[in-house]
Amino acid sequence: MITAHSLTKRYGATTAVDNLTFEVPPGVVTGFLGPNGSGKSTTMRMIMGLDAPDSGSALIDGRPYRDLPWPVREVGGLLDAKAFHPARTARNHLRWLALTNDIPLSRVDEVLDQVGLTTVANRRAGKFSLGMSQRLGIAATLLGDPGVLLFDEPVNGLDPEGIRWVRNFLRALAAEGRTVFVSSHLISEMSLTADRLVVIGRGRLIAETSVADFVSRSGRGAVKLVTPDRAEFIVALSAAGAKVVDDDGGSLSVEGMPASGIGDLAAREGLRVHELTPISASLEDAFMELTADEVEYRPSTMAAAAAPAEKE
């Protein structure tokens, strides 16, 4: 369990994290969602005791990170895929890390195997691709078999297979009863991985809720209709009370009538249907709607008071 209470971090005049309060419960994957520069990484660094908050607190099972007796055995954090010395081999990187917390060195080969790096264990980690580096970072988080795991943008730079691997992996960790907290700016990824969401913008909490809730909160369902009989459909659907928008590219977007209703109507009217797809409001739509005012770096607004660059 991770609890953040009134967490605040300022860099000069900029407030990177602003009075943030949220909980990350065990047993589910909690997504940490926000636009770039919204304070996700800063928040994660404060949870892991790397940065000190200006006020408020972040606790791991009720304790500040710095008070944990065996941090690596309690928390696994992947905040930076390249947080290892490039000249050291993957195995040697994990070995010193194991020594810090008196973890049996046999764990090193176990976790290397778990992430699929056994064959490159004796290669210098600096030669690794971003995907391999991410795997090494994930191996490091597993080393102490911790109950709490934090991942900052773990799928960045991964190929589709790697992304799927991480996704299943995170879900498996949560299913084992662990606390899993994953940040991302990739909304579609979060919709597949996370059960719960903590959404922030400009360092402030926007929502703390389940993914389903978050989507339905902003959702209006629509149905995509592809047909050669567009004009006839527009007349018929409008007459039936549905709202029809003629999308560019030859499809119609129908609101106010479910796909089944449209199909029935087509049968009655003898109109041809080539495709009928319900479009539920995506997490992306919900996110854009909620964070519309909270995006720090937006093209064309030319934010004059540039905040210090934050690594995401």
Partner: protein, 268 residues
């Protein structure tokens, strides 16, 4: 609450755990072997060249000649590479991002710092003492082989000079480690180290010649390495070996303390 996935040992991580990890870190970097290997090779080469150049001179040359000091000259190379080594032990962590992994694994910074300083000091003392003895024996072998005046460990002041020289280089490396803590960047830390150790004496010569004796390189070559003080002596009157060494302890302590103060309160 989070269920216990595994059972951790009682107690908590201590300096000994972190120290073991720091030793493992040091031994698994090629830069360690390269830096120390370079130091041995070039240091001994310098000692060989300097002692060889002291052969076959007239009797006047050997008036005030200090065979111990000559045989330890190679340690000046170690002063430079020891400085590089000391700085890299911490700046290498910052430049690669390893420091965040380190601090996440052992977040109590005083514990981490104690382990790092302990391991750095121990490693440098052992290495520099070994190098100091090897350099001494090599130099004396060259001198005695060429028929020039030479010293043995039993000669007055010789053992003291050999032991203190190794210790002195270790202190220089520790000071450089302190610069690494302060600047967190390899280039800046090494620039500061070279500035203080190798550039400042040149500047000081122009400002206040007698005060050059308080500077590390002067202490090393003319107080710590030397066993013979003969002749009229210039404007620079060397400090006694003990005073010189203690002054170096103060220098290293001040820089490391400043670095430690920053390290303890700075965000990673």
């Amino acid at each position: 609450m989070t269920q216990a996935i595994q059972t951790a040992p009682l107690g908590h991580y201590r300096v000994k755990h972190v120290a073991r990890a720091e030793v493992a870190k040091m031994l698994t970097l090629r830069s360690t072997a390269i830096t120390l290997g370079f130091t041995v090779a070039v240091g001994l080469l310098v000692t060989g060249l300097v002692t060889n150049a002291a052969l076959h001179h007239g009797p006047d040359y050997y008036l005030g000649f200090d065979p111990t000091q000559a045989a330890l000259t190679g340690l000046i190379v170690a002063a430079l590479s020891g400085g590089v080594f000391g700085a890299l032990l911490i700046t290498g962590e910052y430049s690669s991002g390893t420091v965040r992994t380190t601090l996440a694994a052992t977040p109590r910074r005083p514990v981490l710092l104690a382990a790092k300083i302990g391991v750095t000091t121990a490693a440098m003392v052992v290495f520099c003492e070994l190098l100091s003895f090897v350099s001494f024996f090599l130099g004396e072998a060259v001198l005695s082989g060429g028929g020039a005046p030479s010293a043995a460990l039993g000669s007055p002041g010789a053992l003291r000079a050999v032991l203190m020289s190794g210790l002195f280089i270790a202190l220089l490396a520790l000071m450089s480690f302190g610069f690494g803590l302060i600047f967190r960047s390899t280039a800046a830390a090494i620039a500061a180290f070279v500035g203080v150790v190798f550039v400042l004496p040149l500047v000081m010569h122009g400002i206040s010649e007698p005060d050059v004796r308080y500077l590390p390189t002067q202490i090393l070559t003319n107080s710590v390495m030397a066993t013979v003080h003969v002749g009229p002596g210039g404007i620079i009157r060397p400090l006694s070996p003990v005073v010189g060494l203690l002054l170096m302890v103060v220098y290293a302590a001040v820089v490391v303390a400043a670095g430690a103060a920053l390290f303890l309160k700075r965000d990673a």
